[in-house]
């Protein structure tokens, strides 16, 4: 018992930083990331007697953490869509051509420090959060998990054709939102 407790304390000290960074990277919410790391260690405390040392403690802890992160995504993906987002027919006419007022005009990015601009990043975050949860989950899976299309479909339990449509619509909305709130301002 003393031995197990000692191990866990050591693991908390050794791996918390990496695990928190990882969780934050996935859920982009500091409080939620902290909770996930704590929940992982609590679960690990309960399960440590089953840990046979087949894998490294780090791999074992990260597999628990990843399951918890995927649960968060799955839960969000299943929530009903709250806002009425723009669909294809808001951007394209019946022939599939851009509506004149929706045609992407070039963006002035001559500033050169756009990506480090705090205000721009705030707009980016707000636009991502304004997406319906299911679309947002797909987009986050892509950027945070670096998952390929097959894996995203599997994790979120959606058909591949659905994924294309979701990603396409999500990106159209994201671009439209950034255009309106940053480049036209």
């Amino acid at each position: 018992m003393t031995q197990k407790k000692y191990n866990l304390t050591e693991w908390v000290n050794t791996y918390t930083a990496d695990m928190f960074r990882w969780a934050l990277y996935k859920v982009s919410d500091e409080e939620l990331a902290k909770d996930l790391v704590q929940d992982t260690f609590v679960a690990a405390t309960e399960k440590v007697k089953d840990f046979k040392g087949d894998s490294s403690p780090k791999t074992w802890l990260f597999s628990i953490l990843n399951h918890k992160i995927i649960d968060v995504y799955r839960k969000n993906a299943k929530k009903p869509i709250a806002v009425e987002p723009k669909t294809f027919s808001d951007f394209f006419d019946e022939n599939g051509d851009w509506f004149v007022n929706k045609r992407p005009q070039s963006w002035d990015v001559s500033d050169g420090h756009l990506l480090d601009n705090v205000e721009f990043n705030a707009v980016l975050k707000a636009c991502l959060e304004a997406l319906p949860e299911k679309w947002g989950a797909c987009v986050k899976f892509k950027y945070y998990f670096n998952k390929n299309a097959d894996e995203i479909c599997q994790e979120l339990e959606i058909a591949p054709t659905n994924l294309w449509q979701i990603m396409h619509r999500a990106k159209l909305n994201l671009r439209d939102c950034i255009n309106k709130n940053w480049f036209q301002n």
Binding site: K5, L8, T9, V12, N13, T16, A17, F20, R21, L24, Y25, S28, K34, V37, Q38, F41, V42, T45, E46, F88, F91, F92, N95, G96, D97, W98, R103, P104, Q105, S106, W107, V109, L114, L115, D116, F120, N121, L124, K125, L128, K142, Y143, Y144, N148, A149, W164, M167, H168, K171, L172, L174, R175, I178, N179
Partner: protein
């Protein structure tokens, strides 16, 4: 005439879909040709691809930034006390 053009060189709706497909996985040879011909004739979709790629880069950059500003000592402390209670 427009319909024939769309069959050969894609509508903007289809072209933007292929741009997103390209950013997520790879395009087939046929799709690559169709998209590049479409873009040669369409400024709007050319702009769209640039901007969609910029959004991808910005998202990845933001994630890296968020990662850099982390103080975990208080998290370690509270985690340890939580484990202490659960034992």
């Amino acid at each position: 005439m427009k319909k024939i053009m769309h069959i050969l060189f894609l509508s903007c709706l289809k072209a933007t879909e292929l741009i997103e497909k390209k950013l997520l996985i790879k395009l087939s040879f046929k799709e690559k040709i169709q998209l590049s011909v479409h873009k040669a004739m369409c400024d709007a979709c050319t702009n769209y691809e640039k901007q969609s790629t910029l959004i991808d880069t910005a998202m990845k950059h933001k994630i890296e930034q968020d990662e850099a500003q982390v103080d975990v000592s208080s998290l370690i402390k509270s985690t340890l006390s939580k484990i202490e209670k659960s034992i």
